[in-house]
């Protein structure tokens, strides 16, 4: 695999984000321009005068990567140049502050492929909640406490928002499923117009898990059905990644510090049941299970 993000960047050891970037760019190839908003990527890969990027890359602000990419695409179109234009962005910039620019970019139909690496919080500023943070997650702005189980709100459904904009290609992916991710990037490129891919991307610092288990955690998100893998083409659900053995959500929650409180607090089981319900709803909604497959019980 060709690595378009050079080693020597400063992301935390065990971070999934550089892997996401490398997988995306490996699939896209060198004929690619990337725009990135403010966040962990920018800070860890471009400390002046160094840069880890082997493709042309631009950062402008926290909220405008989609608009910057729109302008790049418009200029390329004007010059009759044919390069892939990608945004690679965190969930905070995507689901929150950048929403207006993204909506505009989708609406204008720019041929820009937008990849959100979803680590489910604002990591660069120290693990604050984003609207992609799942319920019951402890973050520094929604900490668990005597009367709080952490983030009280559901996760914003950004892929559905993209589908509602009639974005021709919308998919979810996971850093634990590199073949699937690469295939989706290639498919996104093959369909003209905007595309949106949201990649589950565990953050060792914000999620608090043991170094070396990044991919395992990401796989558990999929196997518990908390992170369904699916793709929409022209508004139609055209593919889902089926789960052979559906794991209980506890397996995923237990592996991470951000959910520790659920196993310690009174009423925590009730919250875990709510999360299990979410996973079960995903399984039903997207048809994630093979017929007759059973949910396995916890390994412990």
């Amino acid at each position: 695999m060709e690595k378009f993000l050079a080693p020597g960047h400063r992301a935390c050891a065990g971070c999934s984000m550089p892997t996401v970037i490398n997988l995306v760019l490996d699939a896209a190839g060198p004929n690619t321009i990337v725009a990135t908003p403010t966040g962990c990527i920018e800070v860890t890969t471009t400390p002046y005068p160094e840069s880890a990027w082997r493709v042309p890359w631009i950062h402008s602000l926290f909220e405008n990567a989609a608009a910057v990419a729109s302008g790049i695409e418009a200029a390329l179109k004007h010059f009759g140049k044919n390069h892939n234009v990608f945004v690679i962005a965190g969930d905070g910039s995507t689901l929150d502050i950048g929403m207006g620019c993204i909506s505009g970019m989708f609406d204008r139909g720019h041929n820009v492929k937008y990849v959100c690496y979803d680590n489910e919080a604002y990591m660069n500023t120290g693990v604050q909640r984003s609207s992609s943070t799942p319920p019951c997650t402890s973050t520094t702005t929604t900490p668990s406490g005597k009367i709080s189980f952490g983030n009280p709100r559901p996760k914003k459904d950004m892929p559905a928002i993209a589908v509602a904009h009639r974005v021709p290609y919308v998919a979810t992916a996971s850093v634990a499923y590199p073949v699937d991710l690469r295939r989706k990037v290639k498919r996104a490129i093959s369909i003209p117009g905007p595309a949106y891919i949201q990649v589950n991307a565990p953050c060792i610092t914000g999620w608090s898990f043991e170094a070396g288990t990044t991919v395992e955690i990401a796989r558990l998100a999929v196997e518990t059905c908390l992170w369904p893998l699916y793709e929409y083409v022209n508004g139609e659900l055209v593919g889902v990644k089926k789960i052979h053995v559906k794991r209980p959500v506890e397996d995923y929650l237990k592996a991470q510090g951000r959910y520790r409180h659920l196993f310690r607090m009174k009423g925590g089981e009730e919250m875990i049941r709510v999360l299990q319900q979410m996973a079960d709803d995903n399984a039903r909604k997207f048809g994630l299970l093979y017929e007759g497959d059973l949910t396995c019980t916890s390994e412990e």
Binding site: V55, W57, S60, G71, A75, L76
Partner: protein
């Protein structure tokens, strides 16, 4: 006033070229002649007509540009950051709240040294909501690293566009330029204007050939983050580019005058300044009124002169020192006020004179805020107050002009 006209046209030829058009049309036409690759703008009064005219040029196939109908001014400037980094000649226009919404991106454009050109149709900032002209918006953006040129009339606002590109795109400058024109007063007025011709502009303005662009053949990183060991130097280089722009703005003005026969001043221009005892300093469309008033006052024997600021950023410190050194009193009229201090231009001007032997009274007048007319009577009042300050000492360093006491 200097008149340079190497390629003299006969009066008849000139008259034949004159058309009575709306200010916004003249500007849009000038933009068209500069053939921007990407235009991105969002409607806001009184700027709207400019982008509507440009849209029409594109729709009629007269202008081959990508016209982005963006979701906001924030996206407008952001998309031009991307387009400019990809090598495109870019244009936008906005005003007031729109410019305020761009604020964050203005710093990006200048910090990344992207030579974007934008017209600001000057308008007040709310609250209270007000769509009429003053210059609080662009004056508020004076520290964003953009070059700011102010136009006195429609012809100047239009002629400033090719000049702006020539300044911005100079490899020694690479700095975005705002051309500021007073909203409504200039954007919506119909005046006889000599419309630029494509051939002439092509001769004046070379195609944009950027050295650093987003190109997979030669990957470059734009917008890296710089820690304290680098940041100061990067700002210094920006600051230094403005210093170089002082000369460039003048040179381009001369070049323009030589080719087109129209001169508006370089960094500044003066009117009856040579022997003036009372000197008025200002910028924008009020200059027309002031010139008329000066004509009257001169016939009465009053030695009044004018300094027009054409380039507010970079600030023409040396030019002002020279132009003002023999004055006896200076009155600044400006369409903005720094709440908590005084007019921005007043402060800048006093600062420019401080380390010189010039020790004359300098007084300031915020005027024409939110679209209030500045009348000949107002100008006379300013001159009276200036003379009083000279003869009897400064009473008030700054005073709102024609304040309606009955409303306070």
């Amino acid at each position: 006033m200097k008149m340079i006209a190497k390629e003299e046209l006969s009066l008849k030829e000139r008259m034949a070229r004159m058309k009575v058009v709306e200010g916004s049309y003249a500007v849009a036409h000038a933009v068209k002649c500069c053939s921007p690759d990407v235009i991105s703008a969002y409607p806001i009064t009184p700027q709207t007509h400019i982008v509507e005219h440009l849209s029409q040029f594109v729709a009629d196939g007269e202008l081959d540009s990508e016209f982005l109908t963006v979701d906001s001014e924030f996206s407008a400037m952001s998309s031009l950051v991307g387009a400019s980094a990809a090598g495109a000649r870019c244009y936008s226009s906005t005003t007031s709240q729109g410019l305020a919404l761009m604020w964050e991106v203005l710093y990006n454009a200048s910090g990344m040294r992207l030579p974007i050109v934008m017209t600001v149709a000057n308008r007040a900032l709310s609250a209270p909501l007000n769509i009429w002209n003053d210059q609080q918006d662009s004056v508020g953006a004076r520290d964003s690293g953009w070059i700011q040129l102010y136009a006195e009339d429609v012809q100047e606002a239009a002629d400033a566009i090719p000049q702006a590109y020539k300044i911005a795109e100079d490899p020694e400058i690479l700095t975005p330029v705002m051309v500021c024109m007073d909203g409504f007063i200039l954007t919506h007025v119909y005046e006889p204007v000599e419309l630029l011709s494509q051939e002439e502009v092509d001769r004046f303005l070379p195609p944009y050939r950027p050295k650093h662009i987003l190109d997979p053949e030669n990957p470059k990183t734009f917008g890296a983050f710089a820690d304290p060991s680098y940041f100061t130097e990067l700002r210094y280089m920006q600051w230094d580019a403005h210093r170089r722009a002082l000369k460039k703005i003048e040179a381009v003005a001369v070049e323009f005058a030589e080719q087109f026969g129209r001169w508006y001043g370089g960094l500044i221009d003066t009117y009856h300044a040579e022997d003036a005892e009372v000197m008025i300093v200002t910028m924008g469309s009020v200059i027309g009124t002031i010139k008329d008033c000066i004509d009257d006052m001169r016939s009465e024997g009053l030695k009044v002169g004018l300094v027009k600021i054409r380039s507010y950023r970079p600030f023409p410190t040396e030019a002002l020192r020279k132009a003002l050194k023999d004055a006896e009193v200076i009155a600044v009229i400006e369409k903005d006020v720094t709440v908590g201090n005084e007019g921005a231009l007043l402060t800048d001007l006093k600062a420019a004179l401080y380390n010189t032997p010039t020790r004359i009274p300098v007084i300031g007048f915020p005027a024409g805020l939110g679209g209030r007319d500045i009348t000949i009577r107002d100008i006379r009042r300013v001159v009276d107050k200036a003379i009083a300050a000279r003869d009897r000492g400064i009473e008030a360093e700054m005073e709102f002009l024609s304040l309606r006491e009955d409303l306070l």
